[in-house]
Point group: C2
Chain length 295, copies 2
């Protein structure tokens, strides 16, 4: 592939018509932003769920709903934001349909499995692997919000495997949304994501289960729950259809972090069992170092 020719093509390439595959929290918020910032004139929605398409149209997220093949045919840019297990086959399907005048991105929370699955595809250079690190615990088109992504990081993986023009166009969009671009290889992304995102979700799910298990006979007690509990358990409301495939696809890294986390909890347990105030204090003061990251 002639990169110079690609680059020339790209300079004139619009993102006038965009297809979002999946009409939910991320794709919906992204679509709203594309329209607001003037990147897209028309948004086409693709989903297996008719009710979501209907809702997305009502909410002004999409202009039209079409089957995947027809949608791709009409689009300059296809944005795939569906659960990561479905992303792999759907992305291959999309890449089989596009020409080298079109481009496609994903927004998944794992990157290695997808990058590996498409690495030898003839349209690899028209695909860009992205992970805009923003989200809420809600899902579906109703969860889409304006002003999402602002101030957060967006990871782009294997930049060198994507045409420069595609990279420029997509970076420009994410930057316009207020995101900071971070480059990383797919494997490194998945390790870091396990630490700073996936484990938070698992601890939150497990904490909810802990409390629900013990407090089941006494709902009134939740009247007591203060802000600390609510913020720690907030992520436990997250959608299992989205998160179970993430944990499973990133299971080796997630297991590493989970093992480390369990062993950190066991240190607290040991300090309490031994009534070792000094050790307990030391563990907490070590954790306080997180202040240097979050003021």
């Amino acid at each position: 592939m002639d990169n110079n020719k690609e680059l020339t093509n790209k300079k004139n390439m619009p993102t006038d018509v965009v297809t979002i595959v999946g009409v939910g929290l991320i794709s919906g918020s992204f679509a709203l932003a594309l329209k607001e910032k003037g990147f897209a004139k028309k948004i086409i929605g693709v989903s297996r769920t008719a009710a979501s398409l209907k809702k997305a149209k009502e909410l002004g997220i999409i202009d039209e709903a079409l089957p995947l093949e027809e949608a791709v045919k009409q689009s300059d840019f296809i944005y795939v934001a569906i659960p990561v297990d479905a992303t792999v086959p759907v992305m291959k399907q999309v890449m089989d349909l596009i020409t080298d005048k079109q481009m496609v991105a994903d927004a998944g929370s794992t990157k290695f499995a997808l990058c590996d699955a498409v690495k030898d595809h003839p349209m690899r250079r028209r695909f860009i692997a992205t992970h805009p690190m923003w989200g809420t615990e809600y899902s579906g088109p109703e969860a889409a919000v304006r002003g999402a992504f602002e101030g957060r990081a967006c990871v782009i993986c294997e930049k060198e495997k994507t045409d420069v023009g595609v990279v420029d166009t997509i970076e420009n969009i994410y930057k316009s949304l207020g995101m900071n671009i971070v480059y990383m290889d797919a494997h490194a992304h998945d390790i870091h994501a396990a630490y700073i995102s996936h484990i938070s979700h698992i601890t939150s799910f497990a904490l909810a289960n802990t409390v629900l298990e013990k407090e089941r006979e006494d709902d009134a007690i939740f009247a007591l729950a203060g802000g600390g509990f609510e913020s720690t358990v907030r992520l436990a409301k997250s959608n299992s259809a989205m998160w179970a495939p993430i944990f499973m696809q990133n299971r080796e890294n997630v297991l590493d972090v989970l093992n480390e986390h369990i062993s950190q909890l066991k240190k607290f347990k040991a300090s309490l069992e031994k009534e070792n105030m000094e050790y307990l204090t030391e563990l907490m003061e070590n954790a306080n170092r997180i202040k240097r990251i979050f003021k």
Copy 2:
């Protein structure tokens, strides 16, 4: 003690002069609210830390700093909000100093040890055990804020062991601050507090340690950390001088909850190790039930 006489006394009892023992997050926010709502004309601060007293005066939290004995002598109401291990001896000291025209409350996150320690004190009926369930991860007089406590629960323990007049006065204050009063025995309080407050702090401390342990060589990675991570790890900034004594004083309950939490995490671990998507999804859907508590 003649309760009717007490009640008569109490109707005329002002909280014009209030001593706060400890000048930090809780006592400072409480003092600001007392002034704002017109409950106190003068606030006296007691602390072992001269710098905190100076700061509290600068911030308008206290009008004067005095040693404990002198402060108590001048006060209608003494509010003790210091680490729970120090509360037990200090509360006894305060109760040795007061007359039956004065009253005293604590604001501690554990209740059984304190209630047990003062149960036979001659001034027991002038003491009320309270736990206003509000806080932030910050500490010291600088952490005190106006409008704290609003909309949160305040637990009052062993109400029946306190004079009706004292209960009425203190409830009136907390209600004016926008709190919902919840009655509970001290043992039940400590169990519930372990579930909905203490364990959240431990998981947050342990999560911070997990991430700091593994990500220590790559600070830049924290650029990636999104809102989910930040909310889960927020409590790890909490003050060890306040929280270590809470965990230690409530260690049996905290250990019960911690063991349950570790076993819940191990279920996630098992589901990942066995690549059991169905079980993983079931664990997450169970956790989703927390939605019925927090919308």
